[in-house]
Symmetry: C2
Subunit: 353 residues, 2 copies
Amino acid sequence: MSATKKSSSANTSKAMGEFDLIEHFFKEGAAKQGQDESVSLGIGDDCALLNISRNNHLAISTDMLVEGRHFLVGADPHWLGRKCLAVNLSDLAAMGAKPVGFTLAIAMPSVNAQWLAEFSKGLFEIAQEFNCRLIGGDTTAGPLTISITIFGEVPPSKALRRNQAQVGDDIWVSHQVGDARLALGAMRHEWSLTESEMKSVSQRMHNPSPRVELGQALLDVAHSAIDVSDGLLGDLTHILSQSNVCAEVAIDEVPASDVLKSKSIELRRLCTLMGGDDYELCFTAPAENAEQIEKISIQLDIRLTRIGKITSSKTTRDTSGNLAGVLRLLDQEGHELPPELSSQYLKSFDHFK
Amino acid sequence: MSATKKSSSANTSKAMGEFDLIEHFFKEGAAKQGQDESVSLGIGDDCALLNISRNNHLAISTDMLVEGRHFLVGADPHWLGRKCLAVNLSDLAAMGAKPVGFTLAIAMPSVNAQWLAEFSKGLFEIAQEFNCRLIGGDTTAGPLTISITIFGEVPPSKALRRNQAQVGDDIWVSHQVGDARLALGAMRHEWSLTESEMKSVSQRMHNPSPRVELGQALLDVAHSAIDVSDGLLGDLTHILSQSNVCAEVAIDEVPASDVLKSKSIELRRLCTLMGGDDYELCFTAPAENAEQIEKISIQLDIRLTRIGKITSSKTTRDTSGNLAGVLRLLDQEGHELPPELSSQYLKSFDHFK
């Protein structure tokens, strides 16, 4: 659960989006529960932390994937099995947590043994790759829906939070973003790709790479982190809002694949900035840690690119939801984008729209 | 996840029920993951246990509730909010665990503020009653589906498992069972109830009472426990299968409400033995602990009734799924029920049927 905007009252809720919803009904309620030593971090970040161990905190995250919304109807069950755990592993990565285990709750319209065999094969494949064990679950009949809750360990006070970005931090992104959106658009006939282009980029949609090792390597290096699931800029603004800071991003520095780089600048920007389904890490770190970050990049063989800076703190909280004042988007010449273009890229992803 | 029967091969899976499914695809895969010190109990009980604390184990359970299957279409959202956490608290109760927190993943067809307000009110009400905090979640669009993962603490090696019933143990059940099924049947016009009868019994369906305190009180007293969610006999057979023991139950000793006791013996037996949705605890304990159990009953003001005994160990594992040899059902005179009647009561609940 994440929440960025405040809603003033229940009466405004007719026009509420996902974030408001959670904020209004769940975060407010959770806040009313008061403090508890055993819950060191609740709603509002990639994972919740339970302080039940002397040596480690337990990082917990939950996701629900619905057929036709988070994955296509008739999606390949093997890839789906991999992906539904990958997206949760990505949440652990964004906290710098080491995977421990997960629970799986799944509703299926009917019992299809072949589907289940392939799904579970994909699921256990990735579970083994990341040493993350299935420790419980529930199976029932219903429209195809998959809910995973994942658990990881992280040293106390070291977890990468969303609310710790500092003025002067560089903003980084791992590997490259936008290919999943490029593939999805081709499937939806929004644009076309050659067969070889499609083959190259669709893997990124079907089989994302959660940056679990990277997250752990960044524990003493980065100030804040988030995984890019709903679009780079939308996710970055969660860090900005929760850290109460402003930033600028050189949007054409955002790393993209060769396929995506061969497309028009408009398409490239759309896919890299607003794409979603990337599961890369976006993180902020002090400028003096750049050399260390380059070393981590080489060590893990993951490209890490500086795309911007945290420029200033926000003295007053902007409750209007207008992000234009919080995040400045710069073009290749370092000029700020016109507001109408900028605001187009700053629309956040909402699963109810 | 729970699993009682072994399936011989993937080829038999066409006729698989819920338990087989889980066994085949998930438990087998989980077993292949090998041992891990941090997972002290995985799939197969009410909760999984993570050994990440020196002082306590973390008990984790997950459930998925689907509209039209686990609750009626158009169900009152306030009651639903209470119930969806209650059924998970009941899983903690069955392990003797103290609630810590839970995550909520929910898919909804559209954003209905009034529904959400009432749902979250019910949810937080019961969360507060049991000191169990919402610590994370996910919200998305989709057919109404609610998945909760709950966490509780339990002293190491003390959790009430399903596989520790011993020969000579008494079998107990808390409060009374069958009212939820009696109410459901009336709603479905399987039988009729007066308005006052319906009012009295339907509360048990809408607003079950998870036996969290009782579970904790039984930690050093009972050998095994399960919560009655899918029908008393079906759930008891999970204990018998996993403990590899046989039992007898005096079926007319099973405690029922005054309303249910006023009905025919057939209806009473159907509701108490196969009802489901009761969320009482069924547990086994050494005969010499009976006095202590009576004291707990008085202390917590919860009726506890002895309904049978663990009679013998099973020397060979019955892989046919035939439970008649495992659980003997006795009538008021202590006579065993005829096999055709007995087998009728031993049909377990399956969410895919």
